[in-house]
Amino acid sequence: MKDIKPAILLFIVFTVICGGIYPALVTSIAHALFPDQSKGSFIHDKYGKEIGSSLIGQPFSDLKYLWPRPSATAEFGYNSSASGGSNSGPTNPDYLKTVAERVKALRDSGITGPIPAELVQASASGLDPHLSPQVARLQVPRIAKARGIPETMVQKQIDAATEQPQLGILGAARVNVLAVNLKLDTLTP
């Protein structure tokens, strides 16, 4: 019975240390050393207003924008208040129908040859901000045509928003879709 006292008191003490002091300490150091990252890596417009996070993808379907990967979030794709994947199984008939529809939409947009899996399979978070460079390149002709600007100009924005694997080996090369589209909107033909 004498162990009831430490059970309750250690619970209270550890709640204060692990549940209070620890996150508060990390927050204060993080805000001092990494203010931008700790607050969400937001992109600001020229007036300093937050216009999106460079880590959180947004929905784009207009012909003049670089299209991101499909997203299976609730209500609408890239709903950042409800992260999540499709959780569709590989043999689910509804899922295969959805993929077939996405393939058709891409064909209609002018993509020929094999369709990259990335453009028809939804990401895990539903907020994936990236595309592979080779997959982004496929969309260049469509974007250039819709905007009436040269393809090289579009490709230049994609290259500028491309990050390489970290330390040369970690992860994959990737293009930030929101960064490309924000930049595209500032260009004039």
Binding site: F14, Q37, N87, T91, A117, Q121, S123, S125, S132, R174
Partner: protein, 593 residues
Amino acid sequence: MSQTLLELVQVLFLLVVLLALVKPLGGFMARVYQGERTFLTPLLAPVEGLLYRISGVQPDDEMGWKRYAWSMLLFNLVLFSGLFALLLTQHLLPLNPQKLPPFSWQLALNTAISFTTNTNWQNYSGEQAASYLTQMAGFGLHNFASAATGMAIVIALIRGFSRRKSSAIGNFWVDLTRGTLYILLPISIIAALLLVSLGVIQNFSPYKTVPLVQSVSYDKPKLDDKGAQLKDAKGNPVTENVIAKEATIPMGPVASQEAIKELGTNGGGFFNANSAHPFENPTPLTNFVEILLILLIPASLTYTFGLMVGNTRQGWMLLGVMILLWLLCFGVLQGVEQAGNPLVAKLGVSGGNLEGKETRFGMVASNLFTVTTTATSCGAVNSMHDSLTPIGGMIPLSLILLGEIVFGGVGSGLYTMLAFAIIAVFVSGLMIGRTPEYLGKKIEVQEMWMSIITILTAGVVVLILSGLAMITPSAVASMSNPGTHGLSEVLYAVASMANNNGSAFAGLNGNVPFYNLLGGLAMTIGRYIPAVAVLAMAGSLAEKKYIPPSLGTLPTDKLPFAVWLTLVILIVGALTFFPALALGPIVEHLTMR
């Protein structure tokens, strides 16, 4: 192809970094649990002493196994009650900027058990259900406490091997306090700050709203005054067209949670998408750090074990078996996921299976995370396991069903692995006609009983519960994918809960009474019956005298035993679960041809 080869180098890189850390951390942990001086002692000893004074702990008051187990259970009961109460009252408490409502009692019960047992199964969506206070003082605390509990239990078992003719196996309160103060907290602080520097968020702001560059129109279901969905005369839901012009971006103290979530092999995500969410895991480098954190303590404990039993080769042998099984499983998963889904390929699509995977991680780092999180009892995910190819999905499922011994949970992995080693010693002892001994202790009836209980409890629970689910209409209705894949979803869910993993084939809707309540039972049984059995074994081993190795002793630190142990693990796993796996993933794979 060269792209994939390049990506595979990161597996090697991970192994090198991990192996370089095993010895320093393993040695450090041995000194901490043996009460020796470390470089943190000057800083932390006063804090430690203060905690003992406040809570009335006598640090040199050694406990027998029964009192040790009782203290462990009592502390876990208090932990559970605290979180259960917090979940039911979070709307009345501070640090709830989104004014989130309380959990329903069934969901609160499931969630409180889940975090207390180091499972972190989540039948709720983090950003839509849990206040910042709940995340920190509730889930955060439990991430530390459940990890420290697991570590204390394995240390007690190791003392059982190393002590001779002793009736005591240590003091639970001291092991709990030292594990938290000296090991979990310092590493978490460093890891959390590292993660923030790489982009993981850490703040207490309310959720932010930003304008969408391109607004979206969608059909939103109309609700009546009570919040229920409106239906038309034909029973179809009534919808209205809505245009979304803004995005709501959730915030929170994520990095501090993320660090201990991986380090303590807890796995409960701050957000619904868990470690796939860009705010939890924004870059390939954070992904690498998170995988490393998951493996760090379970791998290093093998060295702690070796040191404490006086033969580090014993620990390296166990680590070797773990790495072998881990690489084997990664190889299969990588192979089938890279090959892709043939049904999707038929539609004119090229490339590996990327459904439920993030672009920034790519194929290799996604698969590496999947294997790591299920080899250990972590359960965090950076890709959606439900969308893996059938054989791909069978890999994490099998790793969970094996009992999470490939590294395993902090503490729990090693103690389950040691139970397997005892079974392997016993079976080989029968075959060569010798009295089975392990680490100088005779293996007798008590040890065999406790080892078998440790290994088979979760398996028995899984088979009974998944059978029960199949005859319960509400449990079947929770499946989101039809056919054999639905069976895999249910099997995965009960396996994940009974083995305290917490990852899911997340299409399954777990927030129904069947999974909330029976899942809670499965998690409780799966955690505490093996834990108490291990402590009973520790007590019985500690009382035995030491038998020096003789010519007739089977060497357990050499390659033949490593191979033998691997086979025993695979045979026990296959015999228990092959029928269920055959009906789920294997049939699904065959129907894809």
